[in-house]
């Protein structure tokens, strides 16, 4: 799995450049080009960050899940490093999603925070993976720490279906999903101009995510090699 993300220095550079261009394009489209929403007005532009950041965070925790399962099965260090690297970026994206949601909530609902099921479960997701990172840095025995973290990562990932379904299972303030819903495609819910802005920003977040992940994964590999050389 981690092999797929192994990129050369040149391809990292291209990926970084492409990510930067798409981020600038996303900013232009999200802040200037897309019209304001008919009901929410300008504040809806926060959704061009909020939706891509949470979907990319989900992808990141999915990679933690895959990396953790593979590590427990095959005991290959690279899978553990992939899970660890993806968890770090996933925590950043989840924290940012909560902050963006909070700013949007203040302008729309009138409160920075409410104990809504989806918000609470997302905060729990953040705490689980913050705990995962702490576990990695606290335990002395590395193999035991990696195994414990892998179990933690797999259990943590199970919170994501709960977050997604929470708006159907409980009466929540948070609206139902606009993108990942079973009965309708996003093009049936969202005006094409708003959907274009969202799609561009989603691609920008994805490119940026894979750029950061390739750097973080290579950093983890280099640290492993440093440790091994020091032991010799």
């Amino acid at each position: 799995m981690a092999e797929i993300l192994k990129t050369s220095r040149t391809s990292k550079g291209y990926l970084g450049g492409l990510a930067l261009i798409s981020v600038l394009l996303g900013l232009y489209w999200g802040l200037l080009r897309a019209p304001p929403d008919a009901y929410q007005g300008e504040v809806q532009r926060i959704m061009y960050l909020h939706i891509p950041s949470i979907l990319t965070a989900y992808l990141s925790f999915f990679l933690v899940f895959i990396g953790s399962c593979l590590y427990l099965w095959k005991r290959e260090k690279r899978d553990d490093l992939l899970a660890y690297s993806a968890a770090e970026i996933g925590v950043l994206l989840t924290a940012l999603t909560i902050i963006e949601g909070s700013v949007w909530g203040k302008s729309t609902w009138g409160v920075w925070w409410t104990w809504d099921a989806r918000l609470t479960l997302t905060a729990i997701l953040l705490l689980i993976f913050a705990g995962y990172l702490m576990l990695r840095s606290l335990t002395g025995d590395e193999n035991r720490s990696a195994s414990a973290a892998a179990v933690f990562g797999i259990i943590g990932f199970l919170d994501i279906p709960l977050i997604h379904m929470s708006v159907y299972w409980w009466r929540t303030l948070h609206q139902p999903p606009s993108i990942l819903r079973p009965d309708k495609g996003p093009w049936e819910n969202i005006h094409p101009e708003l959907l274009t802005a969202l799609a561009i920003n989603f691609v920008a977040f994805l490119l940026l995510y894979f750029y950061l992940l390739s750097l973080r994964l290579r950093l983890a590999e280099m640290r492993e090699e440093i440790k091994a050389r020091r032991m010799e």
């Binding site: 300008e42 504040v43 203040k106 280099m222 010799e232």
Partner: protein, 46 residues
């Protein structure tokens, strides 16, 4: 409306500043590890 733009800029400012800081910190850690590795390889060869 001006007030609404304030919320938009607050959210965009926090997000892109945090991502920029993380990228800078990641690149710094990356370069430090690269240097360290180079040093270790060189000392092993000599």
């Amino acid at each position: 409306m001006v007030n609404m733009w304030g919320y938009v800029f607050l959210a965009y400012g926090i997000v892109w500043l945090a991502i920029l800081l993380y990228t800078v910190s990641l690149k710094r850690r990356y370069r430090a590890a690269e240097e360290e590795l180079k040093r270790l390889r060189a000392s092993e060869e000599s």
